[in-house]
Symmetry: D2
Subunit: 405 residues, 4 copies
């Protein structure tokens, strides 16, 4: 029931993660964890918790109805909690008052969002690692292969293809490093109760938070983040940076794979990249996906940043805008990461053509100028730099990448 | 298979219009119209056209498969045409070469986009008219009702509530006027063939275009618009302006419906606007939806504008980014228009509270200052302006609005 | 006192128009026109008006001080009016109470903004006409010159260079057409008084508005637009569309002027486009300026749209954000228009290279495929379309363009 | 020579930092440091270096001319280097070939940008600390003061004003923490030579880089970052987050300082926040500045992210767009930080009114509901949380903040 166009720009797993079924399941996961923790702390009766936990199974719910009713209440959690109470009531009416106890809608929604984002992020990281590995391997192999270096789109001098590859890889490795810091800060439990003070938890709030965070595999928040979204949006920014770095690679690939340049090409797959009746067409569709993401994601990040001033204890409009923008950010990011991970290991590299373009450029110049700026031997310097940078990669620890052998 | 969060921020009809089923249906509608027109012009055999037209029924196709395969080809039209050829081939193999004859993927996709947008836009306009009518009715009724005028959020002087209402209505009427001009320019057939020259149409291109445009209820393009998107994006801008004007109304409603201000309230519906356990909560959720749209839509418009520089005869990345951003723009716009149309006719107006707030302000000032700036009689001037503006509304012709009686 | 980087991305005249001196001059122009009109209507004494008008000369004011003090008051008009009263008081103390009579800061600022924008817009339009003329001339000349048509960056078939040129020109002509409609709606007097009701004008408001609008060369508003900005922002959107269309041209120029493609080049000027020590570098800097604008302007438009929900009778934050974004929008737009107007008439076209690239593509294919998709004769169809579109241009009336002879 | 509107939205020091004089000075600082380092490494003769260093004084240059000529060359560094060579040539012609030796324009510009940004950032951080200190002091003082907690703009329950304050402070402290990590990664020397390989440095590149970085007080880059901008744009994102967090504070202040709410007010200064003829107006202009920044900065960040895909070894368009967007980002950020730092320590808090609003809410409810949701005693729980969070602040080390006594 949404735009048909995300299909070829994202991935099934991330679209699924933010789909109705998965999100309702995550919200139920939150409610179950809450009941478990509150029972452990004596806040609600153990039998009530058992009924609630036993009922928190997505198969028991009419997911479509919950989504449909969210339009009336302006919140996904309100119909979820209502349905959960009704269903718990069928089995154990005395447990009903303990459903969603001391909690607020935003607790459920934000936590569920962190849960599904966590899955999506793991998929992103795995694909980025595949791309980085592929690029480092290419860097090693083509460290000394001369190629025109182009500034402001015009030939400027000589570099090596390997140096370009290590340049593409470096920001991916940095993104992985930074994600290791900022993801745990963002992927944390939300639990504040009505207005952020957890006033119904009878002094057990800290313990409930600890138990739930552990149960759900999320970080333990220092305080609730209902209306202070900086650590959450910081993760969004980080994904924006990653998509930008992937877009840089894609853009270079496209420029280099023009017919007239011909220095490389995306792998050819049957049924991919061209209409069947045009045998000469070989469209760089993986790069296209990454470029689309690089063009769309900045607008998503802007929307997240613009939604940060959230008035009072829970915003009207700004929070909901943030919620709606977030999934598309992840979808685009993974679309890009997956597309590049699928293309980079299988690039068709044409080193001869690189040399030919360089020679063609030399041929237009006086021999002096040709020698000063376009001596193929200049690639050696680029090769040395490439090797120096490859040596800095901490293959095993830092990125779990396989070394480029 | 998309974000769960659009559900309460958009409307079923627009989400459906851009959903898989509806869009594939529209693409098939394009292919059928093409075959009909080409047969009429003698470009393809009449029996082939009959087979193609007869096959262009969405029920005959596996929509999910087409969407799934779009991920490989990077285009929705490629698998659509492939499936259409296969299905036509089952009934009439000799018609297969005449499927999608002389056409390109972008012809199919852009035209289908115009078709579904046309439907969505009609829904938007209908709801905007409902809002405008409601506001003009309020303007008439409350033309002379004094209310604090506030600048930079602080009381500045006196106006009338009717004057506020006519001020809210005016940009909606202007939006409807402008849409009447720019929508037909945007909602036009796309037909250019591989590179925009329709070189396979044997001199019948103009006639094919005329027939198809008429058949599909779209405008006849002066030229194909594969890579020149200004008139299309202009419609997007117009929706941005509309959403901004609706957002202005929503923002004022929210400020005025604060507990401490209390000058009006959104209509109360059971199950809407508040959790069941908090009887005191009456959240302005219609305004919320309009504010969310006003916050998200500018980013969509930015994305459309940023995608305008589309290289060569069909862009890689920019076109596809535009396609993906477009549906959400319509979804948000109609979400906003529908929410306001649902709330404005039923607003609870508290004229006494308006007067009380004004009196409270007067009470803080010297009598001289109170009289200079906060004399309730100042509302009369606002009332006269309100009536003057109401007199300008061309109720029947310009907007098909019912007069405010 | 602002960023050094606008210098090479904008133009002196637009930067000047929004500079301190020019803007203060425009605000004084507003105050003088107000006094003149109010005296004519008997609202203020004629001698007072004469003193005010005589004092509204920018040379009499310490512009830097006004700008500096705006930081304290949060408004440019507050220190302007204060200084104006002081200066009027030196010559004619009895006139002081009639300075800025019945007016509000926003009246002064918005009107001044419309005045300086009007000048900037005239400069934009003149340069767009130069570009359009140049492109139509090229379209005429190269109507039948074969060139590779490229889709998704890969050769797809054949078109003509003239067809590309008329495709570049068409949206510029459409922009000029649309500006003729939307500019007068935007460039209008602002006059509402404290809260939009002009309650101090003693029934003479309509007459004051008419006189002032005529005096200042602006449109007469139907109502004040303090907090309803749709017609103003609509002009901003229009500039966004124009910049996008110019960016499309620039992008194509850059792709076509790559060393390996070589189908055209920006004109070479001494000292332009390359460091002196690299004789081989010929950077397309005019295209660069247009591309920068096409990348920045969408964000400006987004900011304008996002600022539309302006609460109550004058917004806190949203209005001021709009004011600050507006000048950069005009600066970028004219930077782009000027750069293209400077480059397009002097493009170096290499028709032979266009042919050679086409031949090279043919050489990679079977003769059958080469003939089907890359027959140079396909350019004739593009030529016919080019001529048909050139015939539609209303050279004299519609655009004041000289016909392409 | 730029928009008059930045004046009241930014600060003199940051506008100056990115002004013509300061930026040319920074570029000269780069050239001097380069000469010093290269002489030390034996790459250029010591006397040449002395001549160059001695000439790199901004007073010796016609700054306006350099800026003016940048419009022709499309780069600030090209006219700078040209003028520098001319001026060096007047004193020591033999030194001319050693000016800007082995370097490229982007080295000069990016490094100068890092230098002036470093200054601007120090100003931002100082003001954020002032704000954080003020808020923590308020948090301490009002830890137990009851106030309505509002969700979706409607009263929801009770919190304490101190808890709101510590909630405002926390993201500022986190911003300072994150800046400590990301600023050094961004504020680094750029030195790559023509195409990033420093091929003219004869094996001394590493040493030259180390010397220059130390000399200029910048970080030492692992590799040149000509076309990989992630660490630079990451700083931009961080400023976006900071501005968002400041905007949250400002928004709450505005809502709370409405006449009808009256729970606090910005400090009153003579000549600030209101026209002299309206004694009742007390506009929250500091909040206005922060809100304007929070509305504009997301668009700046989007522009930076969108500019990340920079083709080849130096981008045409994307790099220059980034350069132009960057200064306004810093200007807005510091405008916001300064405005809040000027207002927060002097806020007028009206605890009685907080209590009165709470009482008014209670009065509308049944006593049971009033007690359940609006018992003033609920503030105690918020107070405990406030104290717990204050205890976590590492006053001396982490932020150099004075403890709230």
């Amino acid at each position: 029931m949404s735009s048909i166009f995300e299909g070829f720009l994202s991935t099934p797993e991330v679209m699924q993660a933010f789909g109705d079924h998965s999100f309702v399941e995550a919200m139920l996961g939150f409610e179950a964890a809450l009941a478990r923790a509150q029972a452990k702390c004596g806040l609600i009766p153990e039998p009530a918790a058992q009924s609630i936990v036993g009922t928190c199974k997505v198969e028991l719910f009419d997911v479509d109805k919950i989504v449909r009713e969210s339009a009336r209440s302006g919140s996904l959690a309100i119909p979820l909690v209502k349905c959960l109470k009704e269903t718990v009531g069928l089995f154990n009416p005395s447990a009903v008052p303990f459903v969603h106890y001391g909690c607020t809608s935003q607790d459920t929604i934000d936590t569920a969002m962190a849960m599904v984002t966590s899955k999506a992020l793991a998929a992103v990281e795995a694909d980025v690692k595949r791309s980085a590995t592929a690029l480092l391997t290419l860097a090693h192999r083509y460290a000394d292969t001369p190629i025109l270096a182009r500034t402001l789109t015009q030939p400027a001098s000589v570099t090596s293809f390997g140096f370009k590859c290590v340049g593409w890889a470096a920001p991916l490795l940095r993104s992985l490093d930074r994600l290791r810091v900022c993801a745990p800060r963002a992927l944390k439990l939300q639990l504040g109760g009505t207005v952020g003070t957890l006033d119904r938890m009878n002094g057990e709030a800290e313990e409930v938070i600890s138990l739930m965070a552990k149960d759900l595999g999320l970080s333990r928040p220092v305080s609730c983040w209902h209306n202070q979204r900086d650590e959450w949006v910081a993760l969004g920014c980080e994904l924006g940076l990653l998509t930008g770095s992937l877009g840089k690679i894609a853009k270079d690939l496209v420029w280099m794979s023009q017919f007239e340049v011909g220095e490389l090409a995306e792998p050819i797959e049957r049924g991919r990249g061209g209409p069947s009746n045009m045998p000469h067409k070989h469209n760089p569709v993986a790069s296209m996906v990454a470029l689309v993401a690089a063009q769309r994601v900045p607008q998503r990040v802007a929307a997240l940043l613009a939604s940060m001033p959230q008035e009072h204890e829970r915003a009207l409009g700004a929070w909901q805008a943030e919620l709606a923008e977030w999934p598309v950010l992840l979808m685009s990011t993974h679309g890009s990461a997956r597309a590049m991970a699928g293309a980079l290991p299988y690039l068709k590299i044409d080193a001869a053509r690189m040399g030919a373009n360089l020679a063609a450029m030399r041929a237009t110049l006086s021999s002096e100028a040709a020698q000063e700026w376009f001596d193929p031997a200049l690639a050696a310097r680029a090769g040395d730099l490439t090797r120096a940078q490859l040596a800095l990669v901490n293959w095993s620890e830092a990125t779990n990448l396989a070394p480029a052998t």
